[in-house]
Amino acid sequence: MQAHTPGDDPTESASERELPFRFTGTAREYFRIWIVNTLLTIVTLGLYSAWAKVRSKQYFYRNTWLDGTSFEYTADPIKVLKGRILAAAALGLLFGSQHYSMPLYFCVLALLVLASPWIFVKALAFNARNSAYRNIRFAFTGRVGEAAGMYFGMLVFQLVTCGLAYPYAQWRLTSFAVWRHWFGDQQFRWTSKAGDYYRAYLLVVLMALPGYVLFIAVIFASAKDPGGPAALQRRMLPMLGVFYLYLLVPGAFLRARAANLLWGGLHMGEHHFTSNQRGFDLLKLYFVNLVAVVVSLGLLIPWAKIRLANYRASCLTLHSHGALHVEKLLDGEANALGEGLSDLGDFDVGIGV
């Protein structure tokens, strides 16, 4: 296959274009999809959840636009359903064994932990394979062995360093996930540095620290008071609520930073992305969403999700050098890279965003 090099056409290579992502979903439309999804899922005792998931995800993909074309989610609900049944069986086994015997529970837990790199790789592969733009699919070519080595290596590294390696581990994991992603025949590259992750986490720790210190101080102060455990419990609940709200602050800043590092470091061919999410904006979004969802007893969940998707898209820009020309990854190549094995199901694995 003759790979296209974006420098072929001299008139194109000179032009840099800023292509903003746009989100066009509306809360009114998504609310109706969401409520029907929820009702059908409950009426069918969960079976419809696979179709609900695909429709919901497709709605968000189809309403995300780049350069005049929207994204497409092509997963087969039956495969999603199989994955969900498998996951439900595993979780059922875990919770069931919890009531039975401790050794059995720990065996099941250990098996699930051992399987987590496999789940991670399968989930990314499934998601990538079923994501398309202009009829060109994404692909994830990470291997289970590779993922397991890194995953458990990072686990040991974090244990040895008492958690100080956590930002580094996050960076390594994200790096692995990004570098193994392809769009057609173009491999993604990533330039965010581990140091950036340390700066982000340092900021978040500094923001969260006063809250933790105050919380612990208040617990100790009130533990001395007479009144027994019931009185203590009584005082603890509102404090836990305040503390939870306080934790939205570092949470929002961390997510904004993590998203900017993930997307902002992303390169594909001659093109690259920028992301300018701001912690304060995200905090306002989270807070209003939380209040709205709680006050509406959940009915404003679709509105909250649309708002978030809207904000995320509005912060993301593709800087293209030359035409956005990509070719399909040949089937032979794809299979050699392990793509053919990825038909298991959708599990949401977060990579820090």
Binding site: H4, R32, I35, T38, L39, Q58, I136, Y244, V293, G298
Partner: protein, 335 residues
């Protein structure tokens, strides 16, 4: 003869081409506007389901795809192909406000009725179907976990234990179908609880708190009520169903999950737990009547327990409490 415009992607490159699609009488879909004209039998073209006002795609057998916003034309095409009935039905449901409002109403009814009657009914049915062998394993397993974590061996004198065990044995004879068994532990304050296998655990602290055996027996009668109604199994089933349902409803609103799934589940579980306690109290009341033991003993031990553990939570927290207010329970036994 229907004609409409679409964007064509060949699936080999990311290039897009504007094309005109035409369906002829023979059921062949012609694509005009490419370098060379292309045609596919409509039966071989996969038409993506309609979803709100979003772009739909037509997938051709060669992997090429058309994306199109002309919803009227696509629906005509789908009808011509005689397919998509089910997805059109779902689209209809999703596109009208009256169905959405109906869904909200239906969902609230299902939610309220389900949590009030459906889940407890289902849990009772399943709990009744659990084979004794499994209930035995579950009970043993749970006690084993408690022993390794919070419970310590009893330090009560053997004679005292023997006394209470004999009295418990006499009580158990009223319920030959229940595999009842009494055991003593220490370490969690004055308390007693029942396990799925019929084991009733009573703490040294409770035995010491009671002023006479009838008070202990009244508590044990309440615990036998839990065994009789299979409350521990039902509770496990009820709470896992509630958590499952709430997470289904809330979905993946990740930044909200902890609080928003946590609080409603705790509330629902507390409500089921209070219902179980009331059921067990009723059971104890009947037992005391049967054996002509004055109700006052249960009221007395409840009062002593209330004093020892620091009283009821304030009224605003009662919704999250696992037991009904002690004053109400005492009142039932003093009537």
């Amino acid at each position: 003869m229907t004609s409409f415009y679409a964007t064509y992607y060949d699936g080999l490159t990311s290039e897009r081409v504007s094309v005109e699609l035409t369906l002829d009488e023979a059921g062949t879909l012609h694509v005009a506007g490419l370098v060379a004209p292309v045609a596919h039998p409509l039966a071989a073209v996969r038409i993506g389901p309609r979803l709100g006002s979003t772009t739909r795609s037509l997938v051709f057998p060669d992997g090429a795809k058309c994306e199109c916003d002309d919803h009227a034309a696509l629906e005509a095409l789908e009808r011509a192909a005689g397919r998509g009935g089910l997805s059109r039905f779902v689209y209809q449901l999703e596109s009208r406000w009256r169905y959405a409002v109906g869904a909200v109403v239906l969902l609230s009814c299902v939610g309220l009725a389900g949590s009030k009657w459906g889940i407890p009914w289902l849990a009772r049915r399943i709990a009744d179907a659990v084979p004794p062998r499994m209930a035995y394993d579950l009970g043993r397993g749970t006690l084993g976990i408690f022993d390794q974590t919070v419970l310590k061996p009893s330090v009560l004198g053997d004679a005292r234990k023997q006394e209470l065990t004999t009295e418990f044995g006499a009580m158990a004879q009223h319920y030959p179908s229940l595999p009842l068994h009494l055991t003593f532990r220490r370490g969690i304050g004055p308390n007693a609880f029942a396990l799925p296998d019929g084991t009733v655990v009573v703490t040294d602290e409770l035995v010491e708190l009671a002023r006479n055996d009838d008070e202990v027996l009244a508590v044990l009668a309440h615990e036998i009520g839990h065994v009789h109604h299979r409350h521990s199994l039902r509770m496990a089933l009820e709470s896992s169903t509630v958590v499952l349902l709430i997470s289904t409803y809330l979905g993946d609103v990740t930044q909200l999950t902890t609080l928003s799934t946590g609080l409603p589940s705790v509330y629902a579980q507390a409500r089921y737990s209070r219902e179980h306690e009331t059921e067990a109290d009723t059971f104890a009341l009947h037992y005391l009547d049967q054996c002509s033991i004055p109700h006052q003993h249960f009221a007395d031990i409840l009062r002593a327990l209330q004093k020892a553990t620091g009283g009821d939570p304030q009224s605003s927290m009662q919704y999250l409490s696992s037991h009904p207010p002690t004053s109400e329970r005492i009142h039932r036994f003093e009537r």
